[in-house]
């Protein structure tokens, strides 16, 4: 299904394979780009949220009168005021729009207030009197498993369950709760349309699913709610679930005024889902030559209080529990626990990250047990096109160059990196804890695999529309630009397919186009990109057929050397193509977890070089090199941006990023204590793009957003292990894990 790459692609300025500047770059650099936080409307009210201070309690009473008594307050709404469905949820609507009878996690919304300014709204929110009868929270996911408080159980059995290998390694691993921490917090503006409907402009990765959920909870007709793509300060999974969306629409319709809300950082931590913390137990068995004979894994993730995407994250963790390796005897058991901890859901890597840390540690230990080079071991077992997935048995049909990734990464030069004596390049940094003689260097490798696109039989599609305008062509989509560069890439695809250079991407609301699905699962370049390619291709074909031309460019329609129809008259007509693109169908798994569950896959590998001050347990990640399977790089600069950014999030999980939750309460919900890597923590990155076009994505391209985060964490920890000799079965690695016995 590979589209042909014509000479035209190269010839057109800003076509596929080039790295044109972003259309939104200059507005963002000037501070003129409008984010959800920046929206305003005439007569607008500000909203604030009343949140539970307890991880679990029965609500005995809510008195909104003290809030309503404050001057300037227009409304204070509770669960009783939700007009339609009382709950919401991406996969299972189990989360109350506002908690009515019971709160099930710390920070759960109980009431919302609208007032004439933000200070008043927050002040009034603080005056709402909620009576809580405190209940014992269930915060241990293993206990939840025992009590059968689970969102989903997974069972994968493939091959001969009695297979046994000569060499066995076992291990238990733990992954802490990471936060997406997009720099822009949740924000939005809802504007009543005067006819009982509402327009919503809010931070989102998926406006159509927001719209559906608003419609359900407000008890409105679908045509009464329009959700508009809006400027968003990053996402990384945190924007898939509804948070303030329904609240804003309720308040707007209740007051008849536009209502705006912006979460503070601490509310943002409480108000969106996180990466699932995970507990993993593994047993790998190999023959004496290092062939994987059997892999057993137990995967426990804590979904927190409500479902969000826990079912899908658990499934993914289980499907990728073996990694990019062949193995014909596999048993995986997974549990997604329901507790009173903060709800967890989507974050970049979506389950594949947690298991990668475990299986890659296992592979290193297996190599040690076999007295084998760890890269040789991986290459010997490398999964490739035509192989069955070790877990699901699905035969991999698109290019999966695992062996190439391993070989290429191994061959990348490893600079004799002496970053210099400056403290900025030493563990401890400006804290001056460490001198060059006090560090040990370590190098570690890890490889990871993940699906691209939605799985397990979901009807995964994206609609895009390409039309001619007076100036050139316009691509219309509801696919969210979260910063990754979709606005650039869709234009590149349309340019290449149409043959013209003047293309603009325009975001339109849910009433004007069908869904593009979520900007997640590394899918938009492939799915919305696929829709754009098809629409542009059809449009070009129709235009040429209509005018009997043989070429179309910025000047118009040509036949041979003569310009048949100049652009000015061509664009007089209404030329529009709307395409809904679907990737190859997937199926639900059978009772053994078998089936064609995934649409596509990508692999990547990382090599980390770290300097460790073992005595103090401090780490400086010096460099992370990578080889990544990208299919075809539609925009090499954007791909590099995804790689560098994704690696740094992986580094963050390896050495500093963790939401610390104790007895259901988040202890570090601020940027002072939830540490994000600074520019002085960022490693040097060298990236090698492995291009094997052949996927069903446009021009054979694959999604590139998630692979950088999947194995970078494991590679960094492997390097710390190499430097320190410590076991390090938990991420993030804390100073005490290295320094103390």
């Amino acid at each position: 299904m590979t589209a042909t790459t014509s000479r035209r692609i190269v010839a057109i300025d800003g076509a596929v394979g080039q790295s044109p500047n972003r259309p939104d770059g200059i507005p963002k650099l000037r501070g003129e780009f409008e984010f959800a936080q920046d929206l305003r409307a005439e007569g607008m009210l500000w909203a604030a949220t009343v949140r539970s201070p307890h991880p679990r309690a029965r609500i005995s009473s809510i008195d909104v009168a003290p809030a309503l008594a404050v001057g300037g307050v227009h409304a204070c709404l509770t669960a009783d005021d939700v007009p339609g469905r009382a709950t919401f949820g991406l996969e299972h609507p189990d989360q109350p729009v506002l908690a009515g009878e019971e709160v099930r996690f710390w920070g759960e919304p109980v009431a919302v207030v609208a007032a004439e300014d933000e200070v008043t709204a927050r002040h009034a929110a603080g005056l709402v009197e909620v009576g809580y009868e405190i209940l014992d929270p269930l915060t241990d996911p293993a206990e939840a498993d025992r009590r059968d408080e689970v969102f989903r159980r997974m069972r994968i059995r493939r091959g001969d369950q009695t297979a046994r290998g000569a060499v066995v390694v076992e291990g238990s691993y733990q992954v802490g709760m990471q936060d997406q921490a997009p720099l822009g917090t949740e924000a939005g503006l809802a504007i009543p349309d005067g006819h009982g409907g509402v327009d919503l402009y809010a931070t989102s990765q998926f406006v159509h699913i927001d719209q559906e959920q608003v419609v359900a909870s407000l008890g409105l007709r679908p045509d009464q709610v329009r959700s508009h793509p809006t400027g968003i300060g990053g996402a990384f999974g945190a924007r898939e679930d509804v948070n303030l969306h329904i609240h804003l629409c309720m308040l707007a319709l209740h007051t008849g005024k536009p209502v705006k809300m912006v979460y503070h950082r601490s509310e943002s931590f409480a108000g969106h889902v996180h990466r699932h913390p995970a507990w993993l137990r593994y047993r790998h068995e190999a023959d004496a030559d290092g062939r994987l004979v059997r892999v057993e894994a137990e995967v426990l993730i804590d979904g927190g209080a409500y479902a969000s995407t826990t079912s899908a994250v658990l499934a993914n963790a289980c499907y990728f529990a073996v990694g990019p390796y062949r193995c014909d005897s596999v048993a995986v058991d997974g549990v997604g626990a329901r507790t009173n901890n903060p709800p967890c859901g989507a974050m970049r890597g979506f389950g594949a990250v947690q298991v990668c840390f475990a299986y890659e540690t296992q592979m290193d230990r297996l190599a040690a047990a076999l007295d084998m080079d760890p890269l040789d071991l991986r290459e010997r077992n490398a999964l490739g096109t035509g192989d069955p997935m070790p877990t699901t048995g699905q035969v991999i049909e698109t290019p999966l160059p695992t062996a190439d990734v391993i070989r290429s990464l191994r061959a990348m030069p490893l600079p004799e990196a002496d970053p210099g004596p400056h403290h900025s390049y030493l563990p401890g940094g400006s804290g001056l804890t460490t001198e060059p003689g006090q560090v040990r260097r370590g190098v570690g490798y890890a490889f990871g695999i993940k699906n691209l696109g939605f799985s397990e039989g979901s009807d995964d599609y994206a609609q895009a529309r390409v039309r001619l305008s007076g100036e050139g062509a316009v691509v219309e989509t509801a696919a969210i630009e979260v910063g990754q560069g979709l606005v650039t890439v869709l234009a590149q695809i349309a340019r290449s397919a149409l043959g013209i250079s003047r293309v603009e991407v325009v975001h339109v609301d849910t009433s004007r186009i069908d869904s593009a699905g979520s900007t997640s699962a590394s899918r938009q370049s492939q799915v919305s990109g696929g829709a754009t390619l098809e629409a542009a291709t059809r449009l070009r074909r129709r235009i040429l057929a209509r005018h009997d031309g043989d070429d179309l460019d910025d000047e118009g329609v040509w036949r041979g050397e003569s310009l048949l129809v100049p652009w000015s008259s061509l664009a007089d007509e209404d030329w529009t193509e709307t395409v809904t693109f679907r990737h190859p169908p997937t199926t639900e798994p059978d009772e053994n977890g078998q089936g064609v569950v995934h649409a596509d896959f990508a692999v990547a590998g990382h090599r980390a070089v770290v300097d460790v001050d073992v005595e103090l347990g401090l780490v400086k990640v010096i460099r992370v090199d990578t080889a990544q399977d990208v299919g075809l790089a539609l925009n090499p600069a954007s791909v590099r941006g995804q790689i560098e950014g994704g690696i740094l999030q992986g580094v963050g999980l390896a050495v500093m990023e963790e939401l610390v939750v104790k007895d259901g309460v988040m202890l570090n919900a601020t940027f002072t204590d939830y540490l994000l890597p600074t520019i002085l923590d960022a490693p040097e990155v060298e990236a090698l793009l492995i291009e094997r076009p052949g996927s069903w994505g446009p021009y054979g391209a694959k999604g590139v957003g998630e692979p950088p985060t999947i194995s970078s964490t494991a590679a960094v920890v492997a390097a710390i292990r190499a430097a320190s000799g410590k076991e390090l079965n938990r991420v993030p690695v804390r100073p005490q894990d290295i320094a103390l016995p």
Partner: protein
């Protein structure tokens, strides 16, 4: 008036009555305001008082920013200054503000403790100078009365040439100290060790100081004993940033390493 902008200390003190909040660089107070934790009724803005920015010899005006200390301060204090927040914070935050907040993790405090600095407090009734140990009373608690302004920090006229600061944090910049420490060593061999983030206030490890000060050329075994004593003397807690055990360990290691630097 919700805010006044005096241009002299005298004028500032006249406005500094009970319930009035002094505002220096704002880097601590505004966090509390933004989080809704405090809502001052009245503020005395100190930014325009030139006197407070004066720095003559051993007397550092309370309005001197960390940026200036980073550039011009005595070695270990400059090293500490470089770790205060970010460049933005160091441009605004002042040494006086750091003292007024008196966080257990205040990066500037161990130096003041190590050199036995005094803190100058002024009120309409006069000026008093408090040794650092009498100034710090507990977590974010000081001897400053509501009507007093921290006007300066007085360092001893001569400081040990050998002095060093270090701070443990899990990020290479912009991080709250897990442990921070200053060690000084005078020409006569007298050593001081002060630590932050390991007790409600900055503390000195007196037993370790006494033990090592009595040794003219410490050997590795002496350094190990010194490290052990420092670890023993600190009183850290376990919280979301670290554990008691690690802080004890880190305090000892830092103190030993800093002493090694002073011995070179």
């Amino acid at each position: 008036m919700e805010i006044v902008h005096p241009t002299s200390v005298k004028e500032a003190l006249a406005g500094l009555t009970e319930g009035v909040t002094p505002l220096a660089g704002g880097t601590d107070l505004m966090v509390e305001v933004n989080f809704g934790h405090v809502r001052p009724d009245q503020v005395v803005g100190l930014r325009r008082i030139a006197e407070l920015k004066e720095w003559e010899g051993a007397r550092i005006g309370s309005g001197v920013t960390w940026r200036r200390i980073e550039q011009d301060g005595p070695k270990a204090l400059a090293e500490a200054a470089r770790t205060v927040g970010s460049p933005q914070i160091r441009n605004a935050g002042t040494i006086g503000g750091n003292l007024g907040t008196a966080s257990p993790a205040g990066d500037g405090h161990p130096f003041l403790a190590a050199v036995d600095a005094t803190i100058e407090l002024a009120s309409t009734t006069g000026i008093r100078s408090l040794p650092w140990a009498e100034f710090f009373l507990g977590v974010k608690e000081t001897a400053r009365r509501d009507d007093e302004l921290i006007t300066a920090v007085e360092l001893p006229q001569s400081l040990p040439e050998r002095q060093a600061f270090a701070k443990i944090g899990v990020r290479n910049a912009m991080v709250i100290a897990t442990v921070c420490a200053v060690v000084t060593r005078a020409d006569d061999g007298r050593v001081t060790v002060a630590l932050g983030s390991v007790a409600p206030t900055p503390i000195r490890a007196r037993r370790a100081e006494a033990m090592i000060s009595s040794i003219t050329s410490p050997k590795d075994t002496d350094l190990a004993e010194f490290q052990r004593l420092v670890s023993e003397e600190v009183r850290p807690i376990t919280d979301h940033r670290s554990t008691e055990e690690y802080r004890r360990h880190g305090a000892g290691v830092l103190a030993r390493r800093l002493l090694e630097r002073c011995l070179r």
